[in-house]
Amino acid sequence: MKTPLIAAGFALVAHMATAETLTVYAPDYFASEWGPGPAIKTAFEAECSCELEFVTGDVLPRILLEGARSDADVAIGLSQDEMARAAASGLFAAHGQDVSTLTMPVSWEDDTFLPFDWSHLAFIYDQRTETPPTSFEALLAMPDETRIVIQDPRASAAGLALVMWVEELYGDKAGGAWARLAPKILTVTKGWSEAYGMFTEGEADMVLSYTTSPAYHIMAEGDESKKAAIFEEGNYLYVELAAQLAGTDQPDLAQRFMDFILSDGFQTAIPEGNWSFPAKLDAEKLPETFRTLPVPDKALYVDAKTAEAMRDEAIETWRQGLSQ
């Protein structure tokens, strides 16, 4: 009885010893059992006859600490605000993909950082808000009793993207915009989870999240009450990126994974795994809910270099404006 088991064990160990391993650094939510990671791992391993290993944690800080000796072959889940710093490190190599046919609302030009999914930022509301705002101006004009929770731009990528959103719309007058928003800000949280929890538990009327957030409630909970406020002038675009490491010891495998990112095997895991839009997937391959999800006609976006250059000042404007 035991022999087959032992043999199987040996076979397994032998397989592990010979199969090449691709190490992908990913944020925790990406690789967790509720994220897109497991499906992507299965799909990639089926076609590469290799092993894909996710190493989770703070992706960019860790790679910057490790420098050229990092074990990472590919980094996934970088946020757009990290792009300029990641590029400046010189640790990343070109993705080698054709990015002219992406299904994104803006054209993408960078040849190192490859978008794999996107959403618009949006304020999410529910049936308690009778007249949802249809523009940022309307949001600022909402009654001061409205309770909105946002994330801190010094600790959260979404919070920082909101600051860029206001800079893009209001420029020199951003401070005034924050001051008008201030009475409606219930509080500012460290991360998305605390803020979203406060909204779903009924404490806040609105929360800064993504246009794709309602998809979760519709598909997983059958709850259609939670909606994203779509703005006439457009909502700010939020993009997640992947890049391969220049110093990888598996250049072929890393390149194969970069090729795989824009393929259907990867992209179909995104909608219900990461609750966002795939960067390259034909609309008919999207789940029904995603196809009919309300999205703004336009996307606002500040490119990575500009955003990095104005970051400190924009955060200071935010801090001053909200502190009034």
Binding site: G57, D58, I185, V188, T189, K190, G197, E201, E203, R311
Partner: protein, 515 residues
């Protein structure tokens, strides 16, 4: 010579102190070394410093002042369920911040129970957001700790003393002056210091209830330096600032504390003869109010989690088992560090300093420093659980010391002299004198260390390993993937396990003491 200064104990204590220094100052040095020096910090960080300081002073002072009547009431009353109240009141201290914030909001929030009641009565609402919210949250977290430490002090006054006071016909006021005030003078500065240091490094809670960017602590600036600026130099400076603040506070507390020793008790049940009549009513009111304040948010967490408990996938239960094992290892390690330190401790400032460093240390600096020190030799994810257990043991050390140091002092003054005269030393002395005398604080220390380790997440962001997630990590993952009901279930499980560990050890420590 007393057992406390045996060479073996002293070397073990020095080793433990060295480990604490390595994990706290050593990791900071590693970050500064990697940054190739310190870097300047901006005006926002200076504003943060001011806010950090004043909220920590107010939160710590309020927690300690409120703890005195609560601990006194618990010390002089016996009632059914007293043990359960004491255990449950310890729970806020061990909650993960995100759970505590949602629990507090459910009670004190704009849509919370309190405001719903106020509205129904036609009274103006209260807002938990702003400086008052930060202080509310910090008192919620730390009042239980203060109560436990002060209560520990009360229980250290031997039953014989109260009997003597009663036979001398002393009223409550006289008992206060003769017995209780000296005890408080010895216990309160230390308790204040611990809570001050805890509030110093608070970040997510302070922000969530602070209501805006004004509620920024130094720890947030450190997070920003790591996460957005990758400015290790600035992070090092800010980490050093936290240590300096805690160092000044430690010196202050050390200067104010006057150790009180009530030698010569037999460890019997304390019966009190003072405080009848209206004092009974006062005590009952104080206990009821404290229990309501501390337990209502917990009840909210518990009720919210019941439905989610059944829906949790198996991986959450596995994570719970893993967390349990880490907590047990961490508690054992913590005791192994704390016991020799407590036995070797005289009334030195260094005990106070080493005892507060781990709390004043930024979890981010510790995590990053350990990463810098280790990643060249080992894969961080392979040592994730071991690092978690080690760091948690060091982080829990101050609390263990706070419980053990006063008790060893008393032991030395009491049974220690007899043991000296009998020439007892080594293991027989440990088994026959030391461990029985320290049973209660050891149980408390083990319970606290285990419970704290259950809830911790802060340090391991760089070491996290997807396959060996702990329960708090699974909880955050559930939250991050919109599964709030299941996350609430995980929170309830975490709360129950932490309380179970705390109760089990604490109970074990008190088993023979008749309390």
């Amino acid at each position: 010579m007393a057992a406390g200064s045996q060479p073996v104990t002293r070397s073990l204590a020095a080793l433990a102190a060295a480990l604490v220094l390595a994990v706290t100052l050593g990791t900071l040095a590693a970050v500064a070394w990697r940054a190739e020096g310190f870097a300047g910090v901006g005006p926002a960080a200076r504003d943060a410093l001011w806010f950090t300081l004043w909220q920590a002073v107010v939160s710590a002072s309020l927690s300690v002042v409120l703890a005195v009547p609560v601990a006194r009431a618990l010390a002089r009353r016996r009632f059914r369920g007293r043990g359960a109240v004491i255990t449950l009141m310890g729970a806020p201290f061990i909650l993960p911040t995100i759970v505590a914030v949602l629990g507090l909001v459910a009670v004190f929030g704009r849509s919370g129970v309190v405001n719903v009641a106020l509205r129904a009565l036609g009274l103006p609402e209260v807002s938990p957001y702003g400086p008052q919210g930060v202080i509310l949250a910090h008192v919620f977290f730390n009042l239980p700790l203060a109560v436990r430490l002060v209560l520990q002090g009360w229980l250290s006054i031997p039953a014989e003393r109260f009997r003597l006071a009663a036979s001398l016909g002393m009223e409550a006021g006289a008992v206060q002056r003769a017995l209780e005030w000296p005890m408080l003078r010895s216990v309160l500065p230390g308790a204040w210091l611990l809570i001050f240091a805890l509030c110093l490094t608070s970040f997510a809670v302070a922000l969530a209830l602070g209501g805006g960017p004004g509620a920024t602590t130094v720890e947030l600036a450190i997070y920003q330096a790591f996460r957005f600026d990758y400015d290790l130099g600035a992070a090092s400076v800010l980490g050093l600032v936290q240590f300096a603040l805690a160092g000044v506070a430690a010196a202050l507390a050390w200067g104010l504390a006057r150790p009180a020793v009530f030698a010569g008790g037999l460890g019997g049940v304390v019966r009190r003869w003072d405080g009848g009549g209206w004092l009974r009513l006062q005590d009952a009111t104080v206990i009821a109010l404290a229990a309501l304040f501390l337990l209502a948010p917990l009840l909210a967490v518990g009720l919210r989690g019941i439905t989610g408990l059944a829906e949790m996938p198996a991986t959450v239960w596995w994570a719970a088992l893993r967390s349990l094992l880490v907590a047990l290892a961490s508690a054992a390690l913590c005791l192994a560090l704390a016991l020799p330190m407590a036995l070797a401790a005289r009334r030195g400032l260094w005990v106070q300093l080493v005892g507060v460093l781990p709390i004043a240390a930024s979890p981010l600096v510790i995590g990053t420093g350990l990463f810098i020190l280790s990643y060249r030799w080992v894969r961080p994810d392979e040592i994730a659980l071991a690092v978690t257990a080690l760091v948690n043991a060091v982080l829990a050390l101050p609390f263990a010391l706070a419980a053990l140091v006063p008790a060893t002092r008393e032991m030395r003054a009491g049974s220690g002299r007899l043991a000296d005269s009998l020439g007892m030393s080594g293991w027989p002395r440990m088994r026959l004198v030391t461990l029985p005398a320290l049973r209660r604080p050891i149980g408390f220390a083990l319970g606290l260390a285990a419970a704290l380790s259950m809830g911790d997440l802060g340090v391991i962001a760089l070491f996290a390993d997807g396959d060996t997630a702990t329960l708090p990590l699974q909880l955050y993952r559930l939250m991050a993937s919109y599964r709030i009901d299941q996350a609430a279930g995980a929170a309830l499980l975490l709360l129950a396990l932490s309380l179970g560990l705390f109760w089990g050890f604490d109970r074990g420590g008190r088993a023979n003491a008749g309390a």
